[in-house]
């Protein structure tokens, strides 16, 4: 019985860790099985702990304007990788792939962020804290 439980825990950890759903402290909030791509223009960046937040003006599937709220790593993590608070400015075009929030629309956690030329600005897996 005990061995089965230990094995079950190991499998659960491997599955969740592999999807990054545990290492990301809000794994419960985001659906790591789905990926969305948000293309649009930077509305603003909230440069605050625990996560910088990238707000993107985009269009939904009907062509209506929506604003996405997309979670990035902490400003500290970004700064140590060369970002500054001005790396993305309002009006900059971006393409973000992200895991969407389970229960709320237009909220997601970034997997990667590309600029207009397709240059990868950020490539964080869902395992980012």
């Amino acid at each position: 019985m005990k061995r089965t439980l230990v094995a079950a825990i190991a499998v659960a950890i491997a599955l969740l860790a592999g999807r990054g759903a545990l290492a990301h402290h809000s794994g419960a909030a985001f659906d790591h099985e789905r990926t969305v791509t948000v293309k649009g223009m930077v509305a603003r960046v909230d440069w605050q702990s625990p996560h910088a937040r990238l707000h993107v003006d985009a269009k939904d599937e009907h062509g209506n304007a929506v604003q996405w709220d997309i979670e990035l790593p902490s400003p500290n993590t970004l700064m140590r990788r060369g970002w500054s608070r001005d790396s993305l400015k309002p009006g900059d075009p971006v393409s973000v792939s992200a895991h969407p929030a389970r229960d709320y629309p237009n909220i997601a956690v970034a997997i990667n962020v590309l600029d207009a030329s397709g240059k990868q600005l950020y490539a964080g897996s869902a395992a980012s804290p």
Binding site: I13, A23, A29, F30, T77, D86, K119, A127
Partner: protein
């Protein structure tokens, strides 16, 4: 309009020791700017005092250097008051095997009179931890389960095993860390944020970036308190055995998490840490947890840390703009 983020502006010295935390993700990640080159440019634009004004890449004093200016992490550990000195900024040596977004490509040429600093990777950590890989993220390998390296895993009591299974099933929705609560030890050693040890003769202080928090380890000979109001850090008293700092801690809250799986630490716990610094750039923390309420026997793991130089701690105040618990509050 292209964003102003420029991977080539990342200082060489920070990249040379922070194996992947500081790595920019762009394809130009191999370039970096030597500190002296930055200084030269600043002189043209501002008084000399403005040069090297950023603490994110400020050179750490007292670090032994190779001829090219890179830190000599294999040098002997520093000493103070006749003992090894654990002072320094530390982070987990072994990180998760995240995808590589680039590879270290050697010295960058820069305009400027100073020689470019080669981006030598840190020579610590297990052989499987590819130090030339520029990773997307630097996440401690033990962050999900602190007993990862134990052959049979953590020896949970049955109720604790059930609890961990339930926590995993809910994706750690109740994790205190996700609710901005303190970085309790020893979990703090397997969180991605940095911590700094400041060693003085009667007190060793651990400063952790997460919530700008502190922990005190008294080395003035005092015993543990008789009555311990349960806290996140517990109460720590330490003594030296040769070059090993041996620390005893008790007085923990009853509901602490040791990792993202929710491995428990209870009020019954007595934690022993043995700190060794075998070289300038390596810290070994051997942690023994004796918590019969949650575990069937004491267990020991070694949480190896690598030194971080030429930068400093950055506060991360979690409640500043925490937005994720609102997404799960109804669950």
């Amino acid at each position: 309009m292209a964003p102003r983020h420029d991977a080539s502006a990342l200082p060489c010295n920070i990249r040379s020791v922070m194996s992947s935390t500081a790595r920019p993700s762009s394809a130009r990640a191999g370039r970096c700017v030597h500190g002296a080159a930055i200084a030269g440019l600043s002189l043209l634009l501002a008084p000399a005092a403005a040069a090297l004004a950023q603490w994110i890449d400020y050179p750490t004093p007292g670090v032994p250097r190779n001829a090219d200016g890179t830190p000599k992490l294999s040098a002997p550990a520093p000493r103070a008051n006749g003992r090894v000195d654990l002072t320094g900024i530390w982070t987990a040596a072994e990180v998760l095997d995240e995808p590589c977004v680039g590879r270290e490509i050697g010295p960058a040429g820069n305009a400027g009179s100073a020689p470019a600093a080669p981006t030598a990777p840190i020579a610590v950590g297990p052989a499987t931890n590819d130090q030339t890989c520029i990773r997307q993220q630097s996440l401690p390998a033990d962050q999900v389960n602190i007993g990862r390296t134990l052959k049979d895993g953590l020896p949970y009591q049955p109720w604790a095993a059930d609890l961990v299974k339930a926590r995993l099933a809910k994706q750690a929705i109740d994790d205190p860390h996700a609710h901005c609560l303190p970085p309790n030890y020893p979990r703090a050693y397997v969180l991605p944020q940095f911590f700094k040890i400041v060693q003085t003769s009667g007190l060793t202080v651990l400063l952790h970036e997460f919530n700008a928090s502190y922990r005190q380890i008294f080395t003035d000979g005092r015993p543990l308190p008789k009555q311990m109001n349960p806290t996140w850090n517990g109460y720590s008293t330490g003594h030296w055995e040769g070059d090993t700092l041996v620390v005893e801690t008790a007085g923990f809250r009853d509901d602490l998490w040791l990792d993202f799986s929710g491995s428990p630490l209870t009020e019954a716990a007595r934690v022993t840490e043995r700190f060794k610094r075998p070289s300038f750039g390596t810290l070994e923390i051997e942690v023994t947890v004796n918590d019969s309420k949650a575990y069937t026997r004491p267990w020991t793991v070694t949480l190896e840390q690598k030194l971080v130089v030429d930068t400093d701690l950055l506060d991360e105040i979690c409640l500043e703009n925490e937005q994720d618990t609102r997404l799960t509050d109804t669950k």
